[in-house]
Symmetry: C2
Subunit: 373 residues, 2 copies
Amino acid sequence: MKAIAVEPGAGVPEIVDLPVPDPAPGEALVRICRVGVDGTDYEVIEGSHGGVPDGDDRLVLGHEAVGVVEDANGTALEEGQYVVPTVRRPPAGTETNEYFERGEPDMAPEGEYVERGIVGEHGFMAEYITSPAEDLVPISDDLAEWGFLVEPISITEKAIEHARAARSAFDWQPESALVLGNGSLGLLTAAMFTTTPDYERVYCLGRRDRPDPSIDILERLGVTYIDSRETSVPEIPDAYEPMDVVYEATGYPKHPFEAVDALAPNGVAAVLGVPDDMHFEIDGGKLHRELVLHNKALVGSVNSNRGHFESAIDTLAALPDWVLEEIVTGVYGLDAVERAFPRATAAVPAGHGAATGADDDTTIKTAVEFDGI
Amino acid sequence: MKAIAVEPGAGVPEIVDLPVPDPAPGEALVRICRVGVDGTDYEVIEGSHGGVPDGDDRLVLGHEAVGVVEDANGTALEEGQYVVPTVRRPPAGTETNEYFERGEPDMAPEGEYVERGIVGEHGFMAEYITSPAEDLVPISDDLAEWGFLVEPISITEKAIEHARAARSAFDWQPESALVLGNGSLGLLTAAMFTTTPDYERVYCLGRRDRPDPSIDILERLGVTYIDSRETSVPEIPDAYEPMDVVYEATGYPKHPFEAVDALAPNGVAAVLGVPDDMHFEIDGGKLHRELVLHNKALVGSVNSNRGHFESAIDTLAALPDWVLEEIVTGVYGLDAVERAFPRATAAVPAGHGAATGADDDTTIKTAVEFDGI
């Protein structure tokens, strides 16, 4: 079968031939339909994040997938059922650990997990994959074409669940939300904020010039676009309003700290980026005082668990079709796979893939299609 | 009646004569027994925090009080009942606002409250005070002698409630807790951590040499004392262990950021200090990455509400008497009031009162006694 693999740091993925995998007991065989491409994939391609399985020199890419059960292999799944695989698995050579046992692999610390397509285990960019049945989340036929968006949406489901939990000790009624970053995750999150009744006013920070398709999407959603070159994050409360929620999806290391200034009293910032080291000066006294005197919170969040995937499927069903059609700017077969990775070149600069978004002005989110829906 | 007031910035409090106040409808008249002194009082004395009521040039000090109902004035309180007053009230000239209406004045932003003895309304260091009956929390006769500790304990009750809430979206089983600061609030908090079943191992960071009474208390409690001059906060995970909870009670602006490094995966830091501005360099990229990849949280917390006072009374009842006797190093009548304020001098240096603790090596916590228990 064909798969898309990368030698980390090589700068470009390549199509390889691999045997169709055999499902072990408890696993199903899944025929992959579509797999999304995101900033983490570019970090793996560039070699700044992730790693190959022990003993391999290449990693099969892909962690945002939707496929169809080809062989249920005696599990409770039904053949022909569309499914979305979760990403984390127990480390090689182990069956499980406490985090997986309680259904919270997203809370496992380093060393207690591998991530398919990212670190330590092959991903989903292949014609067929196998997976434990409990890590395959069913999705209805009518949503399957967008099923590769379930994983990124689940990342936001978890982050927002944790952020809301951090405000659950009092009567919190958020009205305003600010998304930092207008890449595909930022856009999906802004769209989520507009389709729940929780937030009356939604803002999204980017640094792109009009006309721009991401700004068009935001404005059609009723989201206020803020150009970071005109208004810095700490200036946002005066220029717009203080924010009850800030959601950071830029990977820019100053943003978590600047977010404290952007928050309204009793607000919470969810931070999601995974940047490289960066030294800079802060007024730590002012930040400290702001956190305390206004009961503010900063919550880091990574990965997601099956419950978040299930919520994400409900969220996906509630998003307007036009949003999905506008965010997904291209779905490419293996014959045009290079178009699914427009930023991948052998000379790609290292680092900060997640922060910069697509290099050209029209690509927002791409996917590779292995088989039609 | 006698009261202890200060002209902010004067550097020393003074005894003044004031009329006994008349309770308004809904208010009770309380005869004050004891009022604790803490770092915030010194900040008010120095003029770095707080402020006088409109139209006054002096502020009656004191926000950690216990007294006895002298005149219930038709409220549901009983005369002779010991009570502890809460601290926040609606701003002058207002009856209430949404935060007070829902019992959460601790979540009110600046401008939506005054604080008795701190900012905008006279405090409790007087022979008599009046207070709305709903802001007077009954305490049993046998605990009344320590009732001035209810307010500081309530500060920790709230901070820990908010910190735990921030971890309520997953199955969190903390075992280790680190208190930053061995002043009276740090010691009370360390004692609280040792008397709840939540934490198996408790640590407290200070910068004092043995022999020292605060270190003696910590060691008798089974708390591990960490000298910050030997082990910095980021070094604590290697030297001791990563911490599930960090509680910052130093007011040192580097501590909230260093706490991120001290935390175990999925840990939470509660920050409580109110420092002045302080600029310094951080590796913001590393901090950002640590917050995200290990699902860490930072939660600021200020003040407390009636529910936290009620919890604090239960907590006080559970603390061993010897801890209270060792922490409270002196209770002084008006004839020796200068001994209750050992750090107050006309030439006291500005700022950082809360961070430095008592100047001499034997004073931990003092109180002023207006009337015997």
